[in-house]
């Protein structure tokens, strides 16, 4: 459980918000504060006012993973296996354990065949999966993804979602502009103007968005 209390930061004003474990999609118009909220939930940004707790503990004291909109802009190493291993190597984990965990996460995400490839030679979808593997190799309690799907086609988004479920991270929070992907999350948060206007299961949130452009096309066409 992620609990936000008395949050005020830039345009964000969230008196109270509880995000359950599972897969949460954060949606809303440009400028709603989605990325700012994600950065605060991750602990990258400290809020001007208020608090965030993950199981009662500040995010900076928990294992948190982050995948940004342009994963390849954050790659540090050329070879896929080195990129995935980097969070563990920076912590000086024994080589045997590092190799075993890289192997485990690569197989879980279906990218073991890419281990010796250059990250720059990968497709857009493969780059996302490598960034996801590097975030998951530390076994985070909470994984945050900022519009990772904005440069992916819907079929690749489905592959990414399936990989996420196999990874078994207790809480995944992702900002997305693809409403049909948001429909498949277990929980939705709709932000507008820095405020949480709606939250809850996708059916309930999208019912409240019936007359807006945020309604998934499938719903507009009678589901």
């Amino acid at each position: 459980m992620i609990r936000v209390e008395g949050l005020v930061h830039d345009s964000l004003a969230i008196p109270a918000l509880e995000i359950p474990d599972g897969e949460t999609a954060v949606i809303g118009p440009n400028g709603a504060g989605k990325t700012t909220l994600l950065r605060i939930l991750s602990g990258i940004t400290l809020p001007a006012q208020g608090s965030v707790r993950v199981d009662g503990i500040p995010p900076r004291e928990r294992e948190v993973g982050w995948v940004g909109e342009y994963p390849d802009r954050n790659f540090l190493f050329d070879r896929v296996r080195d990129e995935i291993a980097s969070p563990l190597r920076f912590r000086h984990l024994p080589c045997g354990e590092t190799d075993a965990r890289v192997q485990e996460v690569a197989e879980m995400l279906g990218i073991a065949r890419l281990r010796d490839r250059s990250v720059m030679a990968l497709s857009g979808g493969e780059k996302v999966l490598v960034a996801l593997a590097a975030a998951l190799v530390s076994r985070p309690r909470l994984l945050l993804m900022d519009e990772v799907d904005s440069h992916l086609d819907p079929d690749t988004v489905l592959l990414m979602e399936a990989a996420l479920r196999r990874a078994g991270c207790p809480a995944v929070i992702r900002v997305t502009a693809q409403m049909e992907s948001a429909l498949r999350a277990s929980h939705l948060v709709f932000l507008q103007g820095g405020k949480v206007l709606h939250q809850g299961p996708p059916d309930r949130v999208f019912s409240a968005l019936e007359d807006t452009a945020f309604l998934p096309p499938l719903w507009r066409c009678g589901r």
């Binding site: 440009n30 400028g31 440069h151 819907p154 452009a213 096309p217 507009r220 066409c221």
Partner: protein, 232 residues
């Protein structure tokens, strides 16, 4: 304006794209997964990539524009005011079209990517082009902006517009569908006949086809109308 691709082949290491077909006046949609070669086709048509084999022939004189996926790649001004002026446009209609009222003095680097994309598209669409190539025009836009863009692109153009996208929500009405399948650009034909041949249609369109609907075009509005007709 007419663009003809004959026996075109582009090779990049193990990756190969082949293309044959003729683009004429009207609205064209080129779809395919990420990495399939949509941007390469856009660059070929724009004359910015030379094929390893075959020819790309453009007939007709007039201005051509290729809009790239990242709006910052087009920015030349330091502020919104300078950017609009660099296109030779009056600020008010652009600001209103981009939903950026009051942002004229804003520095471009302070704009979000969504704002930049709206600004760029408003400038592009305010000018007249004989051939307009839009590579991933929906990237970085939120749902209301995507819907507004599709409504704008659904209007029949004076010349030729080619939209390249992997997006499958909020698509515009078009005249002709193209798809990249396993490294080959395939002309699926005029939209009505092309819809059943489309291997990766949007989920709302696939669902409607499964229900026996026969949409006239690919927008959500067309599909809703077709479903109403099916329901009788």
């Amino acid at each position: 304006m007419r663009v003809s691709l004959q026996g075109v082949e582009v090779r990049r290491g193990e990756w190969t794209l082949t293309a044959d077909g003729i683009f004429t006046q009207g609205r064209h949609l080129v779809t395919g997964p990420v990495g399939s070669g949509k941007s390469t086709v856009a660059l070929l048509i724009a004359g910015m990539v030379t094929p390893d084999r075959g020819t790309v022939a453009r007939e007709g004189e007039g201005p051509i524009f290729l809009s790239l996926p990242f709006p910052e790649h087009h920015s030349t001004g330091a502020t919104v005011r300078e950017e609009i002026a660099s296109w030779g446009l009056a600020p008010d209609p652009v600001l209103s079209g981009a939903g950026l009222a009051g942002k004229l003095p804003e520095e471009l680097h302070r704009c979000s990517r969504g704002e930049l994309k709206r600004l760029h598209l408003a400038c592009v669409l305010a000018r007249r082009w004989d051939l307009l190539l839009l590579d991933e025009p929906y990237t970085a836009l939120d749902c209301p902006a995507r819907e507004a863009l599709s409504a704008r692109l659904s209007a029949p153009p004076a010349a030729m517009t080619v939209i390249f996208t992997h997006a499958r929500e909020s698509l515009p009405r078009v005249d002709r569908l193209w798809e990249i399948r396993e490294g080959r650009l395939v002309d699926l034909g005029p939209v009505r006949e092309a819809i059943p041949l489309w291997s990766s249609p949007p989920a709302y369109l696939r669902s409607a086809l499964d229900q026996g609907a026969v949409p006239e075009n690919i927008s959500v509005q067309d599909v809703r109308e077709a479903l109403c007709r099916t329901d009788g």
